[in-house]
Symmetry: C2
Subunit: 541 residues, 2 copies
């Protein structure tokens, strides 16, 4: 009977937390989309007050969770080693830092407008700064937890955190798209403002009636342009990690023989060398592109030339990656390793995130293709842009297939089953674990934690790699570095989507900015995720 | 080795079909959203040509599948009895018929414009008519199939069907929102056109330059207003059924003791009687509302009075349903039936569809709440509207919980395990089934099909119902009828969202029409789905 009650409480907790999350999300969605339209009578202060309340609630819960866990002995009996991998946590810290810098800039800038605007605009970045600090610490320490105590409270807290992050994400995307699209009301400046300069001109403050009281305001505006994508990224990363934590509440990790295979970079040569060359070449053209585009903002001819270099470089990168992925897929066809047959929730989640994140880049590319195809792709720049978009779609499809197939293959290295140190309190694995509750856990001291994340390190020394394995490893290494350069470019500010005017003219700035602002952060996330997944495929091949 | 190859081919088929579906969807999304903006240079003919190609390809595949299955003996060895329940198939046929009528109207109307517009506008409804006929037949006959032969081709075909339906759905939603929102270009008519009359005025043809050559054009325009929601519904139903079929490809159904429990309506009395009273009262006010709103379109006072009746009736319905759901949930708390522990993919899909479809109504209600809360809900109509929206959110949350919890409980009636007639060709359940392929199946005649969907009918005669069961059954019956009336009203044309002007003024017609057009069809789907699920809960209680 006790088991039935526990099971029922688990069920209730999951359902209610999901329902609450949906309610917050939809309410946020209504507020955000309402405040996006000038004609709609929702001021951005209304929305920011809602956000401040959400951020404070979430921060309070996170502080409570951290202190509660720290005070309770053996609060965390299990950790999921697959959750919160280092690239996710590292990315979170990096983007968190940059978000904090952005918030400081915002505070400094809005303080200058305090005399003629509401104080809420200053309060919001202050609260967000605190929230970012608390959340980064919380996720860095606790991302791997499989929570056993106070499960339902934790479920609610995590779903609150998830919905807060998603609402913040929606707000940021909408706000930045608006900054880019609002047409200047003062027609005094006759020079045509395009893309980037329009953004920098508009960011920070919408109207002319309120003047900044200190002189450094304009300085901060330029900083926004480069910092806001990191804020968006931060919300996405935090959402992904929170969701994984929520899935892991009450989970008893069964080690499915997580094989630790030693990374021997000396095994491969061709792939890494070609990849490094690609990264260096990409970096060089990227730096040239960024420098020149800022310098020759008004000179269309020079700008076109620089854009051409950027397009050609991207086409080369994407083509080479597609070709090597095809080789990798061909190897899979002649390779007779078994598919991993067991169901692994972390892997399913990983695959889902990968495919989901790739949709962002897919959307941008298809919008480009449609625009180019209908305008007839006149001129060499449009032709290059069309070729780039088509190749990108092909590359994404192939790479998704290659990674998913790779993750589902049995590793080449077969090691003996790992001797997991058994938890003495585990009587029976599986369903009965739900009976373990506070009462049991509080009173039982003991080094339960040490059981996790320890693996035997078994390296078999084979004299020579099989040729199939060798080719797969080379392909993985090359693709990995290719994804690195494709990550660097958009993450550090390359926006050919705005610098090249055809799509902007075809779809109007409004719509195109929305597409790019929604799609690109997912695209950046996808590249980082691919790097991590390709590394895993490299190790298991 | 053969098993490995089969498994790999299965994997490849699933992945490639998903990737192709995503590509079609995103391409469709780009075209649809591009054609929605006047400034964007995508004409509706471009989009319609794309749709015609998709519809034809899908129709050809469906005809091929139907003929291939009909010619091959024992092509379908297993059927999933949970897939394609009667409410889904019945709804499909009903909405299909209404879509066909709409298409005939469209053809007749567009023929009148042939002299001054492209023939594509006539060709599209013709092709759609054929597609609807083929698809309705295909899904009616084959919705339960667990396809065994030509699995990968079937996967591609089903994903093609799914993406075609979703693209058609997107197009219909966008097109109808535009019909409602485009502001008349000729400012000659000084009478204020609002909501419904604006739509009827605009539907069919956008500009004044092209005049209809026959006189009955205006007649058809009014018909659109009442028919287009069914077209949208049809696409949603077909998508859901196609997705279930795709999930079932290659599945070997294991009967989880699908219990057939006799429906004895005499067991309950209070719930059905109260429910029928509710339906009758709802129908009466609905008919009054529809008649009066058309009659007194210009008379604001009379319109407000009719709207008030409609709001009050809805509030009463939703309040009564919420109260009875609370009683039902309370019974669950004191009821000690076990949770069903086995994982059932059909049930998970059911629950997912239920929660997903409820989001539509959630979104509309939250947008209403935000609009009312910020404008201060002045006047009795706004107050009633706010109350309705809040109660609706509560009712949806409670009902979702009640249904999901009910579906996860073990039935009260315990019958002995059903003697499923064993299929002689099944050697071993589970993975090995994937080896059964064309070669095996073609040569083996025999009545394999008869094994499915046959159940022993075991009815235990108990003298008296337990009071808990009795209350649960009453609650289910009442909720079921409540959902019926909440389905009837929006399905047959009640649009208080447009007849009451506050939200339209707050969000602008543009945005509000988009919200309602996306949300309401899901809301209608949700009510039908709830009725079916509540019937299941009624039977198992």
């Amino acid at each position: 009977l006790n088991g039935v009650l526990k099971e029922r409480s688990r069920h209730l907790g999951i359902m209610l937390s999901v329902i609450i999350c949906l309610n917050i999300l939809i309410l946020g969605c209504a507020l955000v989309s309402g405040s996006a339209y000038k004609d709609v009578n929702i001021s951005s202060s209304d929305l920011q007050i809602f956000l401040i309340v959400l951020l404070l609630l979430t921060s309070i819960w996170m502080v409570y969770y951290v202190t509660f866990t720290a005070r309770t002995e053996n609060a965390i009996a299990y950790k999921d080693c697959h959750a919160g991998p280092i690239w996710l946590r590292g990315g979170l810290v990096l983007f968190g830092l940059l978000t904090i810098i952005m918030d400081i800039f915002k505070i400094a800038s809005y303080v200058g407008y305090l005399h003629c605007d509401s104080a809420v605009k200053v309060a919001f970045p202050v609260v967000q700064l605190i929230f970012v600090l608390v959340q980064t610490y919380f996720l860095w320490i606790h991302a791997m937890d499989c929570v056993e105590l106070q499960r339902n409270i934790t479920r609610f807290g995590l779903m609150l955190t998830l919905s807060t992050n998603l609402v913040v994400w929606m707000t940021a995307v909408t706000e930045e798209s608006l900054h880019q699209t609002t047409v200047p009301e003062y027609p005094s400046n006759t020079t045509k403002l395009s893309g980037r300069s329009l953004y920098i001109n508009r960011a920070g403050y919408g109207d002319d009636t309120c003047k900044c009281s200190h002189t450094s305001c304009s300085l901060f505006k330029e900083a926004y342009y480069y910092l806001y994508p990191f804020n968006i990224e931060f919300s996405l990363f935090a959402s992904a990690m929170t969701y994984i934590m929520w899935k892991n509440v009450g989970r008893v990790t069964e080690e499915h023989g997580h094989r630790k295979i030693k990374f021997r970079p000396t095994e491969v040569f061709l792939g890494p060398v070609a990849g490094v060359l690609l990264v260096v070449a990409g970096l060089a053209t990227f730096i040239v592109y960024e420098m020149e585009i800022l310098k020759y903002n008004r000179d269309e001819d020079k700008k076109d030339k620089v854009l051409m270099i950027h397009f050609v470089m991207n086409i080369v990168i994407v083509t080479l990656m597609s070709v090597s992925t095809v080789i990798g897929c061909a190897i899979y066809q002649v390779d007779h390793r078994e598919h991993v047959s067991d169901k692994n929730p972390t892997r399913s989640l990983d695959v889902g995130l990968l495919v989901g994140a790739s949709l962002g880049q897919f959307i941008i590319s298809y919008f480009s293709i449609v625009a180019m195809a209908i305008t007839g792709a006149k001129g060499y720049l449009n032709g290059l842009n069309l070729a780039w978009a088509i190749l990108m779609v092909i590359q994404l499809g192939l790479q998704n297939y290659f990674i998913i197939e790779g993750l589902h293959r049995e590793p080449f290295h077969e090691v003996q089953p790992i001797s997991v140190l058994a938890n003495p309190y585990v009587l029976q694995p599986g369903k009965d674990m739900s009976i373990l509750e506070e009462s049991d856990m509080d009173t039982t001291p003991g080094p339960v934690l040490t059981a996790d994340c320890l693996h035997n390190l078994t390296v078999e020394h084979r004299p020579k790699l099989l040729w199939k394995r060798w080719v797969l490893k080379e392909v993985c290494a090359f693709l990995l570095l290719g994804n690195v350069i494709l990550w660097i470019m958009p993450a550090f500010g390359a926006r050919p989507q705005f610098d090249h005017a055809t799509e902007t003219e075809f779809y109007q700035f409004n719509m195109w900015a929305a597409v790019v602002n929604v799609g690109l952060p997912f695209g950046i996330f996808y590249r980082m995720h691919s790097v991590a997944s390709l590394f895993e495929v490299f190790l298991t091949s």
